[in-house]
Symmetry: C2
DNA sequence: CGCGGATGGTTACAGATGCAACGAACCGGA
DNA sequence: TCCGGTTCGTTGCATCTGTAACCATCCGCG
């Protein structure tokens, strides 16, 4: 309070910059915003590959990619490796199963556990998708210079460590 | 087409690593995944500040931040400056208005346009939030070394330019 | 004027998402 | 053997999101 604003209807011009000290936050340079913006843009672009061509949602693509990378695993393991919420994985797996891209097998030694594995068809899809994903990433990286690519990698890794946990 | 896929049925044991060539994609190092993961983690953390303490959603926080930074503006302008979808902004603005943190004024020269501006209460909230946001960012950045901070900035900027459009 | 075509903004609707609660199965101790 | 405490995974529900359709207004042109 006691700020310098002439109350009343004073047609104050535009606020913001002129507001005293470091009171303004530049959204464009704010880390959380930048990360979200980038992640969003990149995902939206990459999504075209798995969505338009294979009708996969992002959780489904991730589950598929995780299974393709690691082989047989449980739903819980997929959660950990893909950073997805329980329910997302549950639903993604259900859909992949419905499409016959993976099968479940109840673990004999612990019947709560389901061992998930890609079917032949699921593997085929995965193997088709991998080069597309790599090409996408390569194309994007190709737009950066050598130094910038290195900087990006270093920066992201550092941030991952910082957030860690 | 004409890709090197040996469509053999070879009874491969556990899939993944041993699958021939570069057929596997390491999700942990895949750019879209890394970005999403990071954005998500950072946002989730930062969210505590505006959500728990002010009951704001992310779109609301962004709209508030955009208005606080730029002063009077239209909904469309908020969309552009905050990279948010039309409807998100519409709803966020409606809620901020309901809370009496902003008011609308129909533009006299074009009655389709609404000029949005923060109320006294809205500005107060904004001014409280800004230092918290900066502190959050600083704390996070403080976990990185000098070089890493620079690398991150450089990398993100480069990526923003690359995606640009 | 009088239209067709843009533009600002809202809303109906269908999907996606997370939380919390749940059932089933396991585990360890009394 | 029985029981409480856990873990695996699913589902009900309330919320959030984007697409598309919509209304109101404006603009340019004949």
């Amino acid at each position: 309070m006691a700020t310098n604003e002439g109350n009343g209807k004073a047609a104050e011009g535009k606020r913001g910059e002129l507001a005293g000290l470091g009171e303004v936050l530049a959204l464009e340079t704010f880390l959380p915003y930048r990360l979200n913006r980038l992640a969003d843009a990149v995902s939206r672009e990459f999504q075209k590959i798995y969505k338009d061509r294979y009708g996969l949602t992002r959780p489904e693509w991730r589950a598929l990619a995780t299974l393709g990378q690691n082989g047989v695993m449980t739903a819980t393991a997929i959660c950990e490796h893909s950073s997805m919420h329980k329910t997302k994985v549950s639903r993604a797996v259900a859909e992949l199963e419905r499409r016959k891209w993976l099968t479940r097998t109840v673990d004999g030694s612990d019947r709560r556990v389901e061992l998930l594995s890609l079917t032949r068809a699921g593997e085929k899809t995965y193997r088709e998708l991998v080069p597309l994903a790599k090409a996408f990433e390569d194309a994007l990286m190709a737009k950066l210079g050598e130094r910038e690519r290195a900087a990006l990698g270093k920066g992201l890794t550092a941030l991952e460590t910082a957030i860690g946990r």
